[in-house]
C-alpha cells in the first residue's frame, strides 16, 4: 500500500485514493495535499539550507523549481536530512535550464563537500606557540613532518567557484561581475575546530599540501618552484590553525 501512497505523494497517481476515508474526490485531494505539501516543501527547504550559495546565485524561484524536480527523481536515501543532496550537483549538470551557468554544478558540489566536512570528525590543531616550539627544538626543520587534518581536501576547479563562494559568504550578496568565473582555481577544504574552511590557494601551495597530506618530509614536500614561499605558506597554515602535528617521524597510517 505504501508504494501507492508514495506514488500519490510524489505524483498524480490516484490508486491510493481508495484508502482515504472521505466523502468526495475533492476532499481526498485536500487531505492528501497536506502530506504532499509537507514532503515537497520540507525537502525543498532542506536543499535550500544545504545549498545557500547556489540558491543565492540562481534566485529563490529558480532554485525551488529545480530542487522540486530533483527531489521527485531523487528523494532522500537516509533519514539524516543534512546528508541529503549528494546527487544534486550531478542533477544540476544535466538540468537543461541551468546550462547557461556551466559552473553551477561545481559550486553545488563544493557547498556539499564543505557541509559534509563541517559534520565530520574534529582533529585538534596546534597553536602558534606550539608550532614555534616544535621548530625551535630541531637543528634542521626541513627534516620535520607536518600533518594537516586527514579530512582535508584539495580541489582543482576549472571555474573560480572558491572566489564566488567567498564573495557570497563575505557580505551575503553575490558579486558575480567581480569574480573572473572562467579562471581556474586551486582550493583547500579543511576543518579546524568546528567549521569547514575554504581557501583559494596557488598551484604551488596545492602541490605542497598534497605532499604533506601524503606524509612527506618537509624538504620532500617543497615544490620545485621559485614562486613558492615556504615562510608565507607556513604562516597561513598557522593562521588557519590547520597543523595537527609536527614530528621527526611520519605519522603511522591510521
Amino acid at each position: 500500500m505504501n508504494n501507492e501512497f508514495k506514488a500519490a505523494l510524489l505524483g498524480e497517481d490516484t490508486r491510493f485514493y481508495r484508502e482515504i476515508d472521505a466523502l468526495s474526490m475533492q476532499e481526498k485531494e485536500i487531505r492528501l495535499n497536506v502530506y504532499r505539501n509537507n514532503v515537497v516543501v520540507s525537502l525543498i527547504d532542506a536543499l535550500s539550507d544545504i545549498f545557500p550559495v547556489t540558491q543565492a546565485l540562481v534566485g529563490d524561484d529558480f532554485f525551488r523549481a529545480m530542487a522540486k524536480q530533483y527531489l521527485l527523481v531523487s528523494p532522500p536515501e537516509s533519514p539524516i536530512i543534512s546528508e541529503y543532496g549528494h546527487l544534486f550537483s550531478d542533477f544540476i549538470r544535466q538540468f537543461e535550464a541551468a546550462q547557461s551557468l556551466p559552473f553551477l554544478a561545481d559550486l553545488a558540489a563544493l557547498e556539499y563537500s564543505l557541509l559534509a566536512l563541517t559534520h565530520d570528525t574534529e582533529h585538534a590543531t596546534l597553536n602558534h606557540e606550539q608550532v614555534a616550539e616544535a621548530f625551535a627544538q630541531v637543528d634542521d626543520p626541513s627534516a620535520l613532518y607536518l600533518s594537516l587534518p586527514p579530512t582535508s581536501q584539495l580541489l582543482a576547479s576549472p571555474f573560480a567557484i572558491g572566489s564566488l563562494y567567498q564573495a557570497h559568504r563575505n557580505d551575503g550578496h553575490l558579486r558575480l561581475n567581480q569574480v573572473a568565473i572562467n579562471e581556474g582555481e586551486y582550493l583547500l577544504l579543511a576543518k579546524s575546530h568546528l567549521i569547514a574552511q575554504l581557501h583559494v590557494i596557488s598551484y604551488e601551495e596545492a602541490r605542497f599540501f598534497k605532499q604533506l597530506l601524503q606524509n612527506k618530509k618537509l624538504e620532500e614536500a617543497l615544490p620545485d618552484s621559485d614562486d613558492f614561499d615556504l615562510g608565507a605558506t607556513l604562516a597561513k597554515l598557522i593562521e588557519w590553525k590547520l597543523i595537527t602535528n609536527i614530528a621527526n617521524q611520519p605519522l603511522e597510517a591510521e
Binding site: 497536506v34 502530506y35 528523494p75 536515501e77 533519514p79 570528525t121
Partner: protein
C-alpha cells in the same frame, strides 16, 4: 509482556528536573544563549537525526549543554509504522547516540517515513488494523531490543483516516503498549489536530487514551490550512501553544494526577523560532497548570 516494562531509569528520573519542570526543544539558534544564561528549565529535547554526525557544531554544543541539563531524545526517522523492514544501519546509529547521551527518554512516532530505501521526511499515517498492529509491535520490540530500553511511542497528527481501519486510534495504541511494554508520549496538540481534522471530540479521545502508560507529553502550536473548502489544522510547530491545547493539557494533567502519575512536558517548537525567553515562558505556564491541577486533584481526592 516485554522485558522492558520496568523502567530502569526510574530511580535516576526521580531526582532529575525532567519530572518536575517542563522542557523545551533544543535548536541551534539557542545554543549560545543557553550556555551564557543557564536558564531554569526541566530538560532539553533533541531530534536524534540532527546529532548523528561524527563532529560539527551541533554535537559540540549538545555535549556542553548536557553538562547542565537532562536530555530527552526524540527520533523522527526510524519509520516504525513502515511496511518495509527497519533501516538497521540507521537504528544502530540512533542506538549509539542514545547510549552516549543516556537521555531521560527516547521517543518515536506511530508513523512511517521510509519505504524501501527512500525517506520522505514526513510522519505519514498508518491504518489501524491487525496486520499493521503486528508489524508496528515487531518494529517497536526490535527498537527496544537494540536500544536496550523502553521507548515512548507518540500518537500521530493525521489529516485523514483509512477506509481499511477497523479499530480506533486509542485502542490501537493501547494494544501496542500492552504487547510491547513501550510507554507512550501523549502529544496533546496532535490530539487537537487529529480530532479536529477527523471531526471527533478531543476530550473523548483523552478519556479513551491509555493514560497509565504516558511517560511524557508534548505541547506545540498549529496553524490552519490555506484551503478554503475543508478546514484542517496543520501540526506545524511554528506557533505558540494555542488556547484549546492548553485547555486539553489542563484536563490531561488533572486525569494524570488522579492516577498519581507525573506529567513531564515539552514545549515543542521547530519553526518560526521566537526568542528563547518566549519558550521558557510557555514552559513556566505549563508548570503552573501542572501545579494547579495537582492541588485540584488532591482536593478532589480528599472530598
Amino acid at each position: 509482556m516485554s522485558r522492558f516494562t520496568p523502567k530502569v531509569e526510574d530511580a535516576m528520573l526521580a531526582s532529575s528536573t525532567f519530572s518536575s519542570l517542563s522542557g523545551i526543544s533544543l535548536k541551534p539558534a539557542y545554543y549560545q544563549g543557553i550556555l551564557a544564561d543557564l536558564p531554569e528549565v526541566g530538560f532539553f529535547e533533541i531530534h536524534a537525526e540532527n546529532y548523528l554526525s561524527n563532529g560539527g557544531p551541533a554535537r559540540h554544543y549538545l555535549h556542553k549543554i548536557r553538562e547542565h541539563y537532562p536530555l530527552t531524545v526524540h527520533g523522527v526517522g526510524l519509520s516504525i509504522g513502515g511496511e518495509t523492514p527497519l533501516n538497521i544501519e540507521h537504528l544502530k546509529r540512533v542506538a549509539k547516540l542514545v547510549n552516549e547521551l543516556q537521555p531521560a527518554v527516547f521517543s518515536e512516532h506511530l508513523a512511517w517515513s521510509t519505504h524501501h530505501s527512500q525517506f520522505l521526511n514526513d510522519l505519514l499515517p498508518v491504518p489501524y488494523d491487525g496486520p499493521t498492529l503486528d508489524r508496528v509491535c515487531r518494529h517497536i520490540e526490535q527498537v527496544q531490543e537494540c536500544l536496550q530500553r523502553q521507548i515512548l511511542l507518540e500518537n500521530p497528527s493525521t489529516y485523514f483516516e483509512f477506509t481499511r481501519s477497523d479499530m480506533s486510534e486509542t485502542d490501537f495504541i493501547r494494544e501496542i503498549a500492552k504487547r510491547t511494554g513501550c510507554g507512550l508520549l501523549l502529544d496533546v496538540n496532535n490530539v487537537e489536530v487529529s480530532c479536529f481534522n477527523n471531526r471527533t471530540n478531543p476530550y473523548d479521545y483523552l478519556n479513551d487514551f491509555p493514560l497509565n502508560a504516558v511517560g511524557q507529553m508534548h505541547l506545540a502550536g498549529h496553524t490552519i490550512d490555506s484551503n478554503t473548502t475543508l478546514p484542517l489544522k496543520i501540526d506545524s510547530h511554528d506557533e505558540p501553544v494555542s488556547q484549546d491545547v492548553w485547555a486539553l493539557y489542563q484536563y490531561t494533567c488533572l486525569q494524570l494526577n488522579m492516577m498519581n502519575q507525573a506529567c513531564p512536558t515539552l514545549i515543542e517548537r521547530d519553526g518560526n523560532l521566537p526568542p528563547l525567553t518566549e519558550l521558557l515562558a510557555e514552559a513556566r505556564y505549563a508548570d503552573t497548570i501542572r501545579q494547579t491541577a495537582l492541588r485540584e486533584s488532591r482536593y478532589e481526592q480528599r472530598i
